[in-house]
Symmetry: C2
Subunit: 251 residues, 2 copies
């Protein structure tokens, strides 16, 4: 393990370096095992003795692993992985449910949402450029491997949503003035826009939403300062879309 | 501010000291403001100049606040609050929805679940003794004030659940072999048991569950290693209970 390698790995805590090198870091044998079986390309693995073997693997000591790790607690292995290139056409959005994130900032929320998307069989997440980076080490670990199955795209979100809406794809979003989701018609396909933790969906993205939804509190007339975390709201809305799709007769 | 006070505050990071002194710590003007308006009793407030005034308030410098805080970043105020004494009778559980947590360990999950309970109008959470302490500083902050409205009880959970089941209260829980929640009858009242992050509901609590539920993946026949985080699963199940209660005609 060279000094340059240590510097490279540690630099990948920052998005700028990840973009420059086209690499991100994944830690732990379970995640790296899933990576090896995925379409992603591993550049190099650093592992404690006996954890991984192969031409791209270098055995390191626990002390060296402590110098490499981007997490609070070092793992038994760490991989340098190539950031996949993804393209998304508007036609890819037709006929299925897609998530769109407008400036979600918290890496924990980002990781939870990617994991949720995987659970609900959502293949793509379209994000505004300001949304938390999905290759941030905290996000990668929080997704528990879902990052290998769900594709995350960073785009000019309002522009892309406007194109989708113009192509006849329903664009949903949650708003305080939205219609009770349980009384709204929901299509099995469409784009579901979720917004920033503090400010919600920004005005440019909001203009493209043609179906405004609300998750009702309980009891329905309760007023208060309570709010749902954005990841939780995403889960509850996705569950309702999937419930309808599984039981179309009940709507 | 005395040395003894600093020691006391800092000791309250640990559950043992919280139990011994009957006190917990809340930080930040928004949370402390809500506390002042709640039924909880504040023993003392330490605040930067101009933030709070009153007989139980002591003004401290930013440097002193840094010595007091139990969080990563010090806030503008910190309160010592008396842990409320709560009792819960089986008759309190009749006619409404209650959450039960069997050994949920992660403070972040605990905080999210308390916030969820508040959103869904759930008044009580019954926990096994091993469940994360709701007065852990991380949990208190993560609840965003919901800890003031939702009552959390630590009890011999399997024993209490068995009593409730014997009293005719439906006891629900999520299991891999459960029935699809969207095809199951759900009562507006009952106890919903959620389990540990890794091992799920323990065998003693599981024996008391008389209605086993499953959140189906999508598509319904998808197999994989994916799983839902316990807080997310709690949110999705509570949303379905409340949806049914809001729209009883549709079931």
């Amino acid at each position: 393990m060279t000094k340059a390698e240590i510097q490279l790995v540690r630099s990948l805590a920052d998005k700028r370096a990840r973009t420059e090198h086209g690499l991100f870091v994944a830690e732990g044998a379970k995640l790296i095992g899933e990576l090896c079986a995925s379409h992603l390309r591993i550049r190099k693995i650093f592992a404690l003795e006996g954890v991984f073997e192969g031409p791209a693997t270098e055995t390191v000591t626990p002390r060296e692993m402590e110098r490499l790790t981007l997490l609070k607690t070092p793992n038994n292995s760490l991989a340098l992985v190539e950031i996949p290139h993804s393209t998304l056409r508007i036609s890819d959005l037709a006929g299925r449910l897609t998530l769109a994130l407008d400036n979600v900032q918290n890496p924990g929320n980002m990781g939870t949402i990617i994991r949720l998307a995987d659970w609900f069989g959502i293949r793509d997440i379209v994000c505004s450029e300001e949304t938390a980076d999905c290759f941030n080490p905290k996000v990668v670990q929080a997704t528990m491997g879902a990052i290998l199955r769900v594709r995350v795209h960073y785009v000019d979100l309002p522009h892309r949503l406007a194109q989708a809406a113009a192509a006849g794809i329903p664009v949903y979003g949650t708003f305080l003035e939205g219609e009770n989701i349980y009384e709204s018609p929901l299509t099995p396909d469409g784009i579901l826009v979720m917004g920033n933790e503090g400010r919600g969906i920004g005005p440019d993205a909001a203009r493209t939403v043609n179906r405004k939804l609300l998750i009702p509190p309980y009891p329905a007339d309760r007023r208060g300062s309570e709010s749902l975390n954005v990841a939780m709201a995403t889960g509850i809305v996705c569950a309702e879309f999937r419930r309808r799709a599984l039981r179309p007769a009940i709507g």
